[in-house]
Amino acid sequence: MIPEFTEQAQFSAWPFWVLGINPEASSIEVAAAARDITTKLQFKIPEVEYFQTPVGRKTRDEFLVREAKSKLQDPQARLIAEFWYAELAEPEQQAGLAMNVGELLAKLKVKFWAD
């Protein structure tokens, strides 16, 4: 579980980001999405372990996918997730400045751990 998601209410839409769906998805689509991602994780398909959030790219595993599915199957939790849902902005739309901190560090020519 990612602490920002549980501690800050404005990130309550996190289950949608984890499963890569929007609030129009039905409960069947939610289950199908969860199953699809879990299978791809088991198959170790590259890039499936990452997902986009407003605070950057995060990693997901089958535990997080399961929790996201459970949240969206609970009507109360789904309601709050839908309330806080908004489209994720594309990184390039951020007024010419890169959204990704890693890219920024490279542009500022500073060596960082991940390089």
Binding site: E7, Q8, A9, Q10, F11, S12, P54, V55, P75, Q76, R78, L79, I80, E82, F83, W84, Y85, A86, E87, A89, Q94, A95, G96, L97, A98, M99, N100, V101, G102, L104, L105, K107, L108, K109, V110, K111, F112, W113, A114, D115
Partner: protein, 471 residues
Amino acid sequence: MGGLVFIVVLIIFLIRNFTGKKGINGDQKDNVRGNYISIWVISILAWLIIRNDHPDNYLALFGLYLWLAIFTQPSIISKMWAMSAMYKGCYYLSSLCYFRNGRNLFAGRLMSSLEACHRLKSDEDKRQALIWLKSRYQKRKAKKKILSGDMVMITIIEAYLAKPDDAYYLASQLDLLKGIATASIPRCVSRYALRLGLAPALANADWDRIYACAKQWNTPAINPLAKYITALYEFHRLEKRTLAVRLRCGLWRMFYMFNPYLWKLAQQFKEAKHLSVDVESKAEVIQSLWKNSKLAELNRTNYRGCLLNTEAQKRWRLRSQQLGVWDEGEAWQKIEQTVLRTLPEESASDAIADEQAYQLMEQKYKKLHYLLQAIERRLDADEVGSGAQNFIDWLHVRALLLELATSKHFTDTAFSSNHEILWQWVADLWNVAKQHCLVHFMAGIFEPMAKQNGYTEFHALLHGLTRAEYS
């Protein structure tokens, strides 16, 4: 003969170096530069003498040429070694980089070695290298004084060890160093720290934070980028139209060549709507909350109206029926709570309305309590501890005090309940461990808290400490 003269002079230099007059804060910057120049001159003289006296002694000449190359250009050699990821060599060689690191040689060594560490291929190798560096400063600062440059490097290394690829965490740790005396921070360190702090602020387009970061690292060591950003902000946002600011702003053209990425910054400062973001759609409100919670606090009425109006309530009650929520009223209440938790009504210092928030603060308060108790036990056992360890403890205390700062109740109580331990800690660090630089830093943070809580004697003491000259 020339060689013998050279050796004798070198020995005299070494003796002078170790027994010479120290600076007011224990550093040897004045001595060091003077000695460096002296050795450079003597080395050239030795070269001339040996070349004339022993033109065929190729071995001696080779040794001398090698010595000259390393000694006169140690930072180039160090950079070459850094590119080869030879972090241990860099660490030892950087002792000679006087011009680069003269303000704080040890911090410069750590910085140089860190640059080499970044070139290592695997994460595990990097980790091991950082652990080795950590052992260096723990050993070195067991008895010796810790200076500001050391503190910055220790913070960076500890942050890398704790969360290696979290740039936000690193920036937040560097934020804890606000108030540190900056005179003895080598330029390579302050430039590196500035960039590390800038990246997250730029990612969030947080102009105020960018300015604060630039001001923090606008040190006496040359840091043009910090000067440039500070000047731009003051010119465009604070509308300072002094000559000095204008001249500094003129530097942007030079920086555009080296940092093309930042060329839009001036424009962004000009155009940014400072503290008056008006958002009308719910999506914009939410996206704004993701990016910048400070703006959210200042626009709470507007945001609240956008999220919790009557129409919204109707819509979400209907949606809760569709989803099959059992109690619509309770469902809407829960939504309201999440909004209120994000947008506190009262000023930050008094808001402990939410039980969950209170419990979190209570936990932080207890953490601080345990930490200070452990420090007290250590002091009572007459073990002040090393400079590095005290600094790390201080960082933990500072981080917790900052977290508690959102509640006046907790901050005031934390300080007043523990002010005796803090007093003893400051006293022992000053009197016993002679960690004046660290105490100066701590005093700057505690002074306003002591004043606010009415501890006049403690405040007077701290006030005196902050007025002393330290680098």
